[in-house]
């Protein structure tokens, strides 16, 4: 018995009916569908440069997310960074969609530009969306990770 990965968790009743000629018999089975464990930042780990030097980096921030998939199935995962500069203007960055195999931990590395924020700080929240295919990431991991970095000359 298999179910689509997007099936909502809950209690389902399955009715199995067998028939032969005029003879019919049905049996009901109760199935509890539980959510597969969500991928998470491994030990809350999301790395970035806390003092981003414009001279050294050109204002490009590099994020490294260490993502663990504790589920028994593979998940496609995307890391999102959303936050604001000191002015309140949004700062966003998305990693590539990455396959994280069941029971494994993977480093996902991606970048974002913050060159306009010299002497300002960026405060952000990192989150994970995931799903069964690269084009379908309907779930959001309950674990987020916040942080901040300063942009220096």
């Amino acid at each position: 018995m298999t179910a689509n990965a997007t099936l909502a968790p809950g209690t389902y009743t399955i009715t199995v009916t067998g028939s032969s000629g005029t003879l019919t018999h049905s049996v009901t089975v109760t199935v509890n569908v539980v959510a597969q464990a969500a991928p998470v930042f491994s030990a809350g780990k999301l790395h970035w440069t806390h003092h981003l030097s414009l001279a050294k980096s050109g204002g490009v921030q590099t994020f490294t997310a260490i993502v663990t998939n504790p589920a028994t199935n593979d998940w496609y995962v995307q890391v999102h960074i959303t936050g604001t500069f000191d002015t309140g203007t949004p700062f966003t960055a998305d990693s590539p969609v990455t396959l994280v195999a069941a029971g494994t931990t993977l480093n996902i590395v991606f970048t974002a530009s913050a060159s306009s924020a010299v002497n300002f700080k960026v405060s952000f929240t990192g989150s994970l969306t995931y799903g069964p295919t690269a084009s379908s990431l309907p779930f959001t991991s309950p674990v987020t990770k916040s942080g901040a970095f300063a942009v220096v000359p």
């Binding site: 809350g44 203007t89 700080k121």
Partner: protein, 556 residues
């Protein structure tokens, strides 16, 4: 017309002179002058969560409404990257968040600021890039309904971080940061503080408050009860140094800018507020280095300084929020403070302390109740008219009784002195009454003004209550000026309209000889009308008629 002079100048002098004397005393005896000097004793309670969600909550803006409610608006950026502005209200309990602005799509609605106009209207200004550049917009809220959107600035630069304050003269001030590109600025990026005002329904043009080559960012203004407008902001004179907090004061013109902090890291997002005890508070975020090296870690923590002498001196910064560690930094920033009607100072801010740094949420810290000394003249009562020397025929005394009610809205029993003056061209000092008044008590004190020989005119009543324990910023309600409304009317003005007209005099001639007093009034006309018996001899005689005729044409 009766003689008149402009009493506003006199009122100002009567108010300013004690302030000047107090200022001199403060300078001479800084440790003795202010019995309310307990600001350092203000303690803060533990932080408490207010809004917890998975997005990034930042830049709260708080106001205390005239009806005692608190309103709080802030910016949220969701995990999907959409910015929104939410707001909640507090009336003993917090309301659910309501969306003020959100989207659509790539449009960002950021950095809200709240204020209440003196007519009760609530205004919320914010920055949005719906035209391609960030400009300022606002909406008004009357009786719970928001108006349409009005554009406040139009620039091809970017306007951020609007901050609203309403001064005691009803002027609405809007301060903000304007960022533009120019080779003449630090790193080719100009950051200047701008402002504009709304006065008598007229918006001024945009004014560049800072014009030097420094970066001037993140304005944090406040308005105090003495009519002044204070502006703090973060200033940096080069790209290689962080920000420090500067401030200046507007009292008809801007004072010189002064530095409030001096740090080797960076002080940002200043917020000024005056508490009910007249203490000025500066809250700000300071960058604290947790580890050094190639990828050293730092965090923002909230700090405060305060001034108990309206800015003459400020304390050294004190750390308010607890920090984290290099492996688990905790940022606290974006302070917005307001004095609540519950006597507590409320400080709202953004922090990622929840869940060991899982997202930025809104927290608040309250002070314990702040006690103060505060007295006010809550009412003034006096007769609607007075004849010079009184008119005995209808029982009017030559002594006008002026009742002034003093209310102690502070928290202590105080000794007060009440002084009253009646003025036109001639000034009459009614004296000083000293009493003790307990917290919450209202006390009516009576001044006697002998009007014998006083010239008919409209007089101005000036009264001032003095409480030596009262902080300067609480003295704004210590005086009244009832201008030209104490009426001493001429004899012969039988209808008390302030003028002896032909109608008044005609009545005297018509009633000449009527009397004696005590006779009943037949329908249509009195045989004895006491306002006509000026010499109080029981009938309207030639003396009365003569006085009325003499005063014919006298007006006040």
């Amino acid at each position: 017309m009766g003689s008149e002079i402009h009493f506003a100048h006199l009122a100002k002098r009567l108010f300013v002179i004690p302030l000047l004397l107090l200022s001199v005393f403060i300078l001479a005896f800084p440790n003795l002058a202010l019995p309310h000097m307990v600001a350092g004793a203000v303690n803060f309670q533990s932080p408490a969560p207010l809004e917890i969600n998975m997005g990034t909550d930042r830049l709260p803006s708080s106001i205390h409404l005239a009806n005692g409610q608190l309103w709080l608006a802030w910016e949220v950026i969701s995990l999907s990257g959409q910015t929104s502005i939410l707001y909640i209200t507090y009336n003993g309990i917090w309301s659910n968040p309501q969306t003020f602005a959100s989207g659509p799509g790539s449009v960002s609605n950021i950095s809200p600021s709240l204020a209440q106009l003196q007519n009760g209207t609530i205004i919320l200004a914010w920055s949005t890039n719906q035209t391609g550049h960030y400009n300022l917009y606002y909406k008004l809220n009357n009786n719970g309904a928001w108006s349409g959107t009005t554009r406040l600035t139009s620039t091809s630069s970017d306007d951020y971080l609007p901050k609203l304050v309403v001064a005691t003269d009803s002027t609405l001030w809007v301060f903000w940061e304007r960022d533009s590109n120019s080779a003449s600025c630090i790193s080719g990026l100009c950051r200047q503080i701008f402002y504009k005002t709304l006065k008598a329904n007229q918006w001024s043009s945009d004014v560049s408050f800072t014009t030097n080559s420094f970066w001037s960012s993140m304005p944090g203004p406040t308005a105090t009860s003495d009519g002044r407008v204070w502006l703090s902001w973060s200033s940096s004179n080069s790209a290689s140094t962080g920000f420090n907090i500067m401030y200046t004061v507007y009292n008809g013109q801007w004072s010189n800018s002064l530095a409030l902090t001096s740090t080797t890291t960076s002080d940002t997002h200043p917020d000024l507020v005056a508490d009910r005890n007249g203490t000025l508070w500066l809250f700000f975020a300071r960058d604290i280095v947790l580890s050094s090296g190639t990828n050293g870690v730092s965090e923002n923590d909230l700090y405060y300084s305060y001034s108990y002498n309206t800015g003459s001196s400020w304390t050294s910064p004190v750390q308010l929020t607890a920090g984290g560690t290099a492996s688990n930094p905790v940022d606290s920033m974006d302070p917005s403070a307001v004095q609540g009607s519950d006597k507590m100072l409320w400080l709202f801010y953004s922090t990622d302390v929840t869940g060991g740094g899982s997202s930025f949420d809104l927290y608040y810290i309250r002070s314990y109740p702040i006690s103060t000394h505060d007295v006010t003249i809550s009412s003034a009562q006096y007769p609607p008219f007075q004849y010079p020397g009184g008119l005995a025929s209808f029982g009017e005394s030559p002594i006008m009784k002026i009742n002034l009610t003093i209310t102690n809205i502070g928290d202590f029993t105080d000794s007060i002195s009440l002084t009253a003056t009646i003025s036109n061209i001639t000034s009459y000092n009614l004296g000083t009454i000293s009493r003790s008044i307990t917290a919450g008590q209202s006390l009516t004190l009576t001044f006697n003004w002998n009007t014998t020989g006083v010239k008919p005119a409209r007089y101005t009543l000036l009264a001032t209550v003095t409480d030596t324990a009262e902080p300067v910023l609480n003295t704004y309600n210590n005086g009244i000026s009832a201008r030209d409304i104490v009426r001493v009317i001429p004899l012969g003005d039988v209808d008390q309209n302030g003028t002896v007209t032909i109608g008044d005099v005609s009545v005297f001639f018509y009633d000449f000889g009527f009397g004696p007093r005590g006779n009943p009034c037949p329908p249509g006309h009195c045989v004895y009308y006491p306002f006509e018996d000026i010499n109080n001899n029981g009938l309207v005689d030639i003396i009365d008629v003569g006085i009325a005729a003499f005063n014919f044409g006298t007006a006040i």
